[in-house]
């Protein structure tokens, strides 16, 4: 007999799924057994569900297709919600499998019972509770199709254990994902007209347009029309460095973003939404676009932004244009004092071609961004949803998607302490991830926000919520505890030396940079 779980796994394999990031429990055991009986899916254990969901995000960004996450009932999934939230904001494809009690046991309200759908809905574009073993293959086919629709969506399939262990009808054929909607030429032509009109224009690129064909088309459009290229404050995946078009990030704080955008008469939005402030501040609008700058939508996030950009390149006569992109310009290796600027310079100075940089450096990350536009070509990923604790897991998933490429995790200490268990998965899987742990021993962004709110002298309790120095986290010890070799550096010279050593050796490393 074929179980529902086997039909589900076989259907996933046929739909192109290759990896499952999991922390299963009793209700998921039939699915676990099926991963053995049906070959084709790599099983990766996370010691905490936030590692699994964050890894699936990083994997999807680099593989361009969904991984599975497999978690245990409502509370197990809840542990992964923050990073599903981030993945949803990244617009990547993801399929969450959540085991549930047998259908007839739910009424018993046993200790681990909860309303899983209510937990799943806020972070999912598609949610289904499976109703029978018979249709579990079809449920899976539809979940994968939903995840692959319109670029990337979050599909969550809740699987009662009797559906997993019951008898299935067989495998379901893969379903066609809903394609990104076509952008009419009228809209493209209107934008082309704008760009040719000679007023200062800028073009804001969404997640699908900051790499590959979309980015190339944007580069041609910019070269032909002089329009400035922007991306969201935290890009999902940007191809960057020598040869790639130069794209700037919309600044985080309104007082920086608004004046910047005030330099433009038009902002064309391509595959994302017009920029809004991360938070609502007293007396400031949500929008980061000043009234003097007019917003035009080339493509919504659900529309085919790559096609629209290619059509726009044609329309502005840029289709055959040769774009040289950024010049190769690698900074000198820094020496002496280690501060965020020296740290950023050091990373840029040693970055190998093809590196995947996962930046959850928060306030320590910006200097690297500024130092690295001329690095050898590489990929740059950021936390898109603002829920911290995404960096180490996503670096892990990216390394699984691209085993031949080095991964560099630029990681703040406060957010790193959310999901340090990702280091263990890196060690277990032997992944080439080098983590640069930026130890400033504070939630620095909150210090800045307190100042911005006019709190010149925070009281002792406010300070205690921001200061991480009592006791100091020993990240080399934490890394060792999770099986990853580590080193602590206090000068720029030492950082460069340890970086080069870590990048030369296979397997994960952690470098704690004292800032």
């Amino acid at each position: 007999m074929t179980t529902g779980a086997e039909a589900l796994v076989r259907t996933a394999v046929q739909a192109g799924v290759e990896v499952c990031f999991a922390n299963p429990g009793t209700t998921e055991l039939s699915l676990v057994v099926a991963l053995d009986s049906v070959p084709g899916i790599r099983a990766v254990l996370g010691l905490f569900e936030g590692v699994c969901t964050g890894a699936a995000d990083g994997y999807a960004r680099m593989a361009g297709k969904p991984a599975l996450t497999l978690t245990h009932l409502g509370p197990g999934f809840a542990n992964g919600i923050a990073n599903v939230h981030n993945a949803r904001r990244a617009r990547v494809p993801l399929v969450n499998l959540i085991g549930d009690h047998t259908t007839w046991h739910v009424q018993a309200d046993s200790p681990l019972t909860s309303d899983i759908e209510s937990l799943a809905r806020p972070v999912s574009d598609w949610v289904r509770s499976a109703g029978s073993a018979e249709h579990l293959g079809r449920d899976m086919a539809e979940a994968v199709a939903a995840a692959r629709s319109a670029g990337g969506r979050i599909a969550t399939l809740i699987v009662p254990s009797d559906c997993a262990w019951g008898e299935a009808k067989g495998t379901a054929s893969p379903c066609e994902p809903e394609p990104a909607a076509f952008v009419e030429s009228r809209r493209v032509d209107a934008v082309a007209e704008l760009l040719r009109a000679g007023k200062p224009c800028s073009l804001l690129l969404g997640p699908a347009a900051t790499h590959g064909a979309g980015l190339a088309a944007a580069g041609r459009i910019s070269a032909a029309t002089g329009c400035k290229l922007w991306c969201d404050t935290s890009p999902t995946r940007m191809e960057r460095g020598a040869g790639h078009p130069v794209v700037d990030k919309i600044p985080y704080f309104p007082e920086q973003a608004v004046p910047m955008l005030a330099n433009f008469a038009h902002l064309v939005v391509a595959g994302t939404r017009a920029p809004v402030a991360f938070f609502g501040y007293p007396g400031q609008p949500s929008s980061l676009v000043p009234e003097s700058c007019k917003v035009h939508e080339l493509a919504s996030p659900d529309e085919d932004v790559v096609g629209a950009l290619e059509a726009l390149a044609d329309a502005v006569g840029a289709s055959g244009r040769d774009v040289s992109g950024a010049q190769l310009q690698v900074p000198e290796r820094p020496t002496g004092t280690l501060d965020p600027r020296a740290l950023g310079t050091a990373l840029a100075a040693v970055l190998p071609e093809g590196t995947i940089v996962m930046d959850e450096g928060v306030t320590s990350g910006l200097p690297y961004w500024l130092a690295s536009p001329g690095c050898p070509p590489h990929d740059y990923l950021q936390n898109t949803g603002g829920a911290i604790g995404q960096g180490l897991p996503s670096a892990t998933g990216a390394a699984i998607a691209c085993p031949e490429r080095p991964v560099l995790a630029l990681q703040a200490d406060g957010s790193g302490a959310y999901t340090p268990q990702a280091l263990w998965t890196q060690a277990r899987e032997g992944l080439n991830v080098t983590t640069i742990l930026c130890a400033n021993r504070a939630y620095r962004i909150l210090q800045i926000e307190l100042q911005r709110a006019g709190v010149a002298e925070p009281g002792p309790k406010a300070r205690s919520f921001i200061d991480l120095s009592g006791p100091e986290l020993d990240w080399v010890a934490l890394a060792r505890g999770f099986g990853v070799p580590g080193a602590r550096v206090e000068t720029a010279d030492d950082l460069v030396r340890e970086l080069e050593r870590a990048l030369a050796e296979p397997g994960p490393h952690l470098i704690e940079a004292i800032l």
Copy 2:
């Protein structure tokens, strides 16, 4: 001017709240500032929200009143959901404060926006989104009253940041909690008749009846009528040891629980629900009570079980009875090989009077339970909701509630790796918590469940999801990383020595016991 946040904090203080376990972000800064400007609430930082909510659970169990948790928007709260789930199943009082975007910024759907209410509802008995600064004091008064109702409930108050920073009308007076409902004497008399009828009876005690006056009354009833005392499989808080009535836990697995209950003609349920299996297994019913055993409800979880038990003691003529309880009987210090049995014996052998034992030892915890009924009187706490990662946080909160008492965390490695950040809060606050880390390097319970499901030889992927030995977690390094001194022991003798040393020294310690 008084801000909404200040009115909220002042109201909380007047309602008896003393501690806030927090990991705030930008949207909570006004609340953070108010904790400084209004004295009376201790501020305790957790490096991860699951630490905050688990600590609030442990605190509430020992303090008998709610702490606040303070978390950042939907994803921050989501990180704490698993331990709120456990706290709800423990029936303890808890008030979750969740910061939200300003009311006018929600429509901008900025990156950290999500449906917080949908996330909060599955783990909350009471949820409210505050609508104005003006009424924030009253909202808080009602939240605390809701949390204190009927023994203990979960109240979740969502606070948009403009409500926190806006002008309040002033403090609200504390509201009266809804008391546990009175149990009619008819029901008490019917149970009394049963107990006197001479058939084998057992009495199952819920969370409010396993300590204090409820437990004392149950002890008198048992002494007078010979009825056997049970508690839920995982008790919220049990007073145990010499002088206390002996109460057994309903076994976890149906094949053990059902035959045990088959020895009784009647099961009287007092302040909990009739026992059900943790999971639904093929061919087995949800209920753990065989048909031959009749269930009678003395008091539901919402009713005044302590009053009902005292009335029952009167009705069976046991009210003045002197109950000697368990005899003081401390096992010899074990020597030689370290296994779960030696570990349990070692803990029982050295346990100081008044210790709070937080047992998330899972499969390694049972031998301690069996070895310890004759220990000096102490409190025994377990993970009530089955969402692992509760032990280290709850031990932390219990130590904050009872600074003068030693806390012993009996902790499995798999579940300990969920929320190891709790160790940092123990170090920061200088708490007297000794963690015994049971390192069997496996999710052993899943090995057992696979065997029970008939999977004699799990495949490589199933094994990889259960085996934690590659690489081995180094818990002494992890503890050091979080600022807690640690030691590794491999013999029973070494465990006893390190336990005595840890209990004699102030501050937290971790002992990694290799099993």
